[in-house]
Structures are given as structure tokens and as C-alpha cells.
């Protein structure tokens, strides 16, 4: 059945096609280059299991923290008028444009053993973030938070403020309105933001390897494992990459329709 508005113009179709090609071809090439027979063996390897588990748990933990800390921040930016709001929003966005390695250096300067906060922390508690799984989660939160906050702020903004007004006239405090009106109405966008944050966290590499190092079971996430494996065994690295690709696509597909459906 033809589109009643007319055929899509070529001037839009060609770039769209090229974009699709650009995104799909490398992935298809990777699938083609993988030795599928080897894959089951790879899956049994201990480093892979450790790295995969670590990646999944740290990403989930980081996403949870982004929710707990990021949602209130997003609400603040969306609903409360205050001086310097634009500045705060800009600051929150900065990690977005920071090259991951630079983010790692920034984290180290703050939370490293000789860092501004890290040094007193080490002296006080004997604990330091680098080389620890907690440090991995910290790094992931730092890089994923902007995605989460921006997406959630957008979702909160798009819900009509009049609903908040209705809740107020019915006697709800702002906290009750937040819980029972603002968040439920913005839920699809909030969840989309969390998925975005989770995906970013899963793929995080530069900041993690600079700030946390690389040790199996503790700080060696999938990207780290793939990176060092690549040095010695290209095929193994490819297989690992496939595993990561499958897991990522699997999660995104599972979430896509149920949670990310248009509001």
C-alpha cells in the first residue's frame, strides 16, 4: 500500500541507506570473520566467564547508582527554576564529551591513591578505588551518568506540567507528585535513559583501564579482556567480541519493545 504522503525523496533515502551500511557492514564482517566452531570452546574459558560476569554486574550496579542519584538530579533540572540551572546542566554534560582516557585521568586525580579525595580516603579507611571492582563501578557511573540524566530530564520535561498542577491542587506534596505522577508519566523515557546508561557502561574501556587497571575477576571487564587478548590471539579476540555483541544485542532486543515503546 503506497504511502499517501508520497514516495520518500531520494535525497533522504540515499544518505539513510549509506548510514545503515556504515553501521551494519562492520558488524556483519565481524560475524563473517568469526570461527563459529571455536565459539563453544571460548565460552568455556575462565577469563571469559569472569570478564563477562564482571561486565554485567558492574554495568548493572552502575546503572542502579545512576538511577538513584541521577533521577533526582534530572527532576531538579526539569522541574525547579533556579539560577545557574543552565550551568549545572552544562557541567553534568561534560563527561559526555570527555575522551574516556581523559575521564580516567580525571577520576584518578580525584579518587586515586594520591588523589584529592582518594588520599584522605586511603588514610582514613585504608581503602582506595583504583584496582578494585568498586573503582570500576565508579568509573562507569562517571561516564554513564550524563546519558542517564539527560535522557531522564528530557522525559520529565515532556510530561505536561499541568498534571503536576492537578496533583498540587489535590493536596499532594512535591515528593508525592514526583512519586505518583511525574515519574510514572515519564517512565518510558526514564527507562530508555537507563538502558542507554547501561549500554554505555558495558562498553566503557578508556576510563576503566586508566583508572582501574586490568586484573581478571576484579577489574578485567570484557572490553579489557578483548583488548589484551587481541595482542596475542586475534581469533580469540574476535570470538570474545562476538560474545559481547550477542549479549549486548540480546539485552537491547529484550528491552526494546516492552520498555522503550513510544509513550
Amino acid at each position: 500500500m503506497r504511502d499517501p504522503l508520497g514516495r520518500p525523496p531520494v535525497v533522504l533515502m540515499v544518505p539513510a541507506f549509506l548510514a545503515t551500511l556504515l553501521l551494519v557492514v562492520p558488524l556483519v564482517a565481524m560475524v563473517g570473520a568469526t570461527d563459529w566452531a571455536e565459539l563453544p570452546d571460548q565460552l568455556r574459558s575462565e577469563p571469559l566467564r569472569q570478564a563477562l560476569w564482571l561486565s554485567l554486574t558492574t554495568s548493572t550496579a552502575a546503572t542502579f547508582i545512576c538511577l538513584v542519584l541521577g533521577l533526582p538530579l534530572a527532576w531538579l533540572l526539569a522541574r525547579v527554576e533556579f539560577r545557574g540551572r543552565g550551568g549545572l546542566r552544562a557541567v553534568v554534560t561534560v563527561p559526555l564529551v570527555l575522551p574516556p582516557v581523559v575521564a580516567g585521568i580525571a577520576l584518578r586525580t580525584a579518587f586515586g591513591r594520591t588523589g584529592v579525595i582518594g588520599e584522605p580516603l586511603l588514610a582514613l579507611t585504608g581503602f582506595a578505588f583504583p584496582f578494585t571492582t568498586a573503582g570500576v563501578v565508579l568509573a562507569h557511573v562517571f561516564v554513564a551518568m550524563p546519558f542517564v540524566v539527560i535522557a531522564m530530564e528530557g522525559a520529565l520535561r515532556s510530561a505536561d506540567k499541568e498534571y503536576d498542577a492537578a496533583a498540587a491542587t489535590l493536596g499532594a506534596t512535591r515528593w508525592t507528585t514526583f512519586r505518583r505522577v511525574s515519574v510514572p508519566l515519564a517512565l518510558p523515557g526514564i527507562l530508555a535513559g537507563l538502558v542507554l546508561g547501561w549500554a554505555r557502561s558495558l562498553g566503557e574501556f578508556g576510563a576503566t583501564i586508566t583508572f582501574n587497571g586490568n586484573y581478571p575477576g576484579v577489574t578485567q571487564t570484557m572490553p579489557n579482556l578483548i583488548y589484551v587478548t587481541r595482542q596475542s590471539d586475534q581469533d580469540a579476540a574476535l570470538a570474545l567480541s562476538m560474545v559481547m555483541l550477542i549479549v549486548s544485542i540480546g539485552v537491547l532486543l529484550a528491552l526494546r519493545d516492552r520498555w522503550l515503546g513510544t509513550p
Partner: protein
């Protein structure tokens, strides 16, 4: 009853003198149980007045409801019920949950709030729709839920912002009668914003006319409809109103005599103009004539044909002095 700080207890008088910057300035009083219709053209400040009383826009002055000045209290503590234009029922909650929202927000346990809500829905005749989402409700049903939701918190002041606008005529008629009944048994003050004359004339005890941000008239429906002080209200009730110095003269369209030649008689009661619109009106034909000022005249279909009264036709209009009601224009 719940312990909202401004008490949902004894009914209270309303004493208002508010100013919303650049929008509206109004002062009036109302007794408990009274329904005050607020009418006026678009932009007159009706919604601003109502939103100021609800606490959604900043306002200066005072709005005493009983012993409490609403303007000194945040919106959620005002014990005012507001039915929004467009209802704004929470889309993610069922009708029942919507109605129970207010009491629950104020601390009533869920079971009790929902039981009360169900009773309210039953009173409005939509008890079986409790589990539906707002998008599954018709316009009339949604409006009833919205009114029930506002009443659920037992407010002492009920504000209705154009509750019947946008509804099917038949639905609006039925709802109007229902609303009239419910408001009759409601012991708080009601402000009903409307641009429909029938609402004002049938449900209201008194009518407040706003024009360009100021109170133009305040009186009973009879007073306002027979001696309208603004063109808007005159049009609303289907009257002609002509200003002459400090006097306003009102006369009905069927008292107007339409001729093609200049009529004899007092020049005060004659106007010259062009027919702008011709439409059937009951058994008669109603003409809208561009003159100084614009006037409406009803003629018989026969006369319309005889004088070929079509748009563009130049005509003379006149009335008998006895058919004109004169009254002072100033003040309320």
C-alpha cells in the same frame, strides 16, 4: 474528616480581592452553597482568576475563605477543588485511582479512599467505570470523573474551568442538569467559568462578568441577561445593547423593525447599516447587521424574502421606545 489545615469543616464565606499582574483584577464575595458563574470573552482573565484562587499563578491581594487567606497558603494546602479545562485526569491511573488520589495524598488509607471514591463515582452514575483508564472514557464520562476527583477532597471552594466546553451538545445538556443537581447539594462555594450563556443562566445563582481583566458586572442571571453591560454578554444572551452617554439601552432582536427606507420617528432609535449574515433562528430569520453598533434583528421568513435581505443589503433598523429597556451603565 481529614485535618487539612484549612479545615474541611464548616462551610465558609468567600471574600476575594485579587490581582494577577497583566491579567485580571477582581473583587467579589460569595456565600457557602452559592454558585457564581464567571463569564466573559476569551482573554478576559477568567482562567487566570480561577488559577489564582487555586494557587497555580502568583497573585496579590487576599482571598479569604472563612478565616483563612488562600493567597498566603501553598496550593496543596488550600483545600480548593479545581476541575481543569481538558480534565487532566492522570493517564496512568484508573478512574477510581484518579478520584482517590486527593484523599490518599492527604493521608487517607488506600482502602478507605478507594471506597469513598467508588461512592462518589456511583453518585455520578459511572460507578462501573472505576477500573477504566482515562483514554477509555468518553468526553462526558471523563468530565464526571474530573468533577468527582475534585470533590473527593471535600473542598470548601470548588472551581470549574469550562467544564462543559467541547462536549457533544446532548452530552453537555445531560451533564449540565446533573451538575446543577450536584452543586445544589454541595455546601461550599462554587465558581463556574463558562462561555456558554445557558450554564450561567440555569445553574448559577449569580453571574460575574469579566471583560479585559476587570469586573464589568456582577448580578443575578436575570439582571445580567436583561441588563447586560457588555457587548459580549449581550451577544451571549441574544440581546442588542446600545450605549448612549451614561445609559445602556437593551432590546430584543424581535423588537427590531427592518426597512429599506429611512424610517420616521426618533433618531435615537434608528440605525443604518449593511446585512452581514443571515441565518435561521427558530421560526424566524436572524440578521446580523453591521451598523453603529452591530445589531441583531429577527424577521419573518416572508419579510426576508420580500425585502431580499441578503448579505450586503443596505437596511435601516429601528425600535419602538417602549420596547427599549434603559439602565445606567456605570458601576456594578
Amino acid at each position: 474528616m481529614s485535618e487539612a489545615p484549612n479545615g474541611t469543616g464548616r462551610p465558609a464565606n468567600l471574600d476575594v480581592s485579587v490581582r494577577v499582574a497583566n491579567r485580571v483584577e477582581a473583587a467579589f464575595t460569595a456565600r457557602p452553597g452559592e454558585v457564581l458563574a464567571v463569564i466573559g470573552p476569551n482573554g478576559a482573565g477568567k482562567s487566570s482568576l480561577v488559577r489564582a484562587l487555586a494557587g497555580l499563578v502568583p497573585a496579590e491581594g487576599h482571598a479569604r475563605l472563612g478565616e483563612v487567606d488562600l493567597l498566603q497558603v501553598p496550593a496543596r494546602d488550600r483545600a480548593v477543588g479545581l476541575v481543569f479545562q481538558g480534565q487532566f485526569l492522570f493517564p496512568h491511573l484508573t478512574a477510581l485511582a484518579n478520584v482517590a488520589f486527593g484523599p490518599r495524598a492527604r493521608g487517607t488509607p488506600r482502602a478507605e479512599a478507594e471506597a469513598d471514591a467508588q461512592a462518589l463515582l456511583d453518585r455520578f452514575g459511572i460507578g462501573e467505570l472505576g477500573e477504566r483508564r482515562p483514554r477509555q472514557l468518553s468526553g462526558g464520562q471523563a468530565q464526571r470523573v474530573a468533577i468527582a476527583r475534585a470533590l473527593a477532597t471535600d473542598p470548601r471552594l470548588l472551581l470549574l474551568d469550562e467544564p462543559l466546553t467541547g462536549l457533544d451538545i446532548k452530552v453537555a445538556m445531560a451533564l449540565r442538569i446533573e451538575l446543577g443537581r450536584h452543586l445544589a447539594s454541595y455546601d461550599g462555594v462554587t465558581l463556574l467559568v463558562t462561555h456558554d450563556a445557558i450554564d450561567a443562566l440555569t445553574i448559577a445563582d449569580r453571574v460575574l462578568v469579566l471583560d479585559e481583566g476587570k469586573v464589568a458586572q456582577l448580578g443575578t442571571p436575570a439582571e445580567v441577561s436583561q441588563r447586560p453591560r457588555t457587548e459580549h454578554v449581550a451577544r451571549l444572551v441574544g440581546l442588542n445593547v446600545v450605549r448612549h452617554e451614561e445609559q445602556l439601552m437593551a432590546f430584543t432582536p424581535d423588537a427590531v423593525v427592518v426597512t429599506l427606507q429611512e424610517p420616521v420617528g426618533s433618531p435615537r432609535f434608528r440605525w443604518h447599516g449593511r446585512v452581514a449574515d443571515v441565518s435561521p433562528h427558530g421560526d424566524a430569520v436572524r440578521l446580523m447587521v453591521h451598523a453603529e453598533p452591530d445589531l441583531i434583528a429577527d424577521v419573518t421568513p416572508a419579510a426576508a424574502t420580500e425585502l431580499s435581505l441578503v448579505p450586503g443589503r443596505e437596511v435601516w433598523l429601528s425600535v419602538k421606545a417602549t420596547a427599549v429597556r434603559s439602565y445606567a451603565s456605570g458601576g456594578r
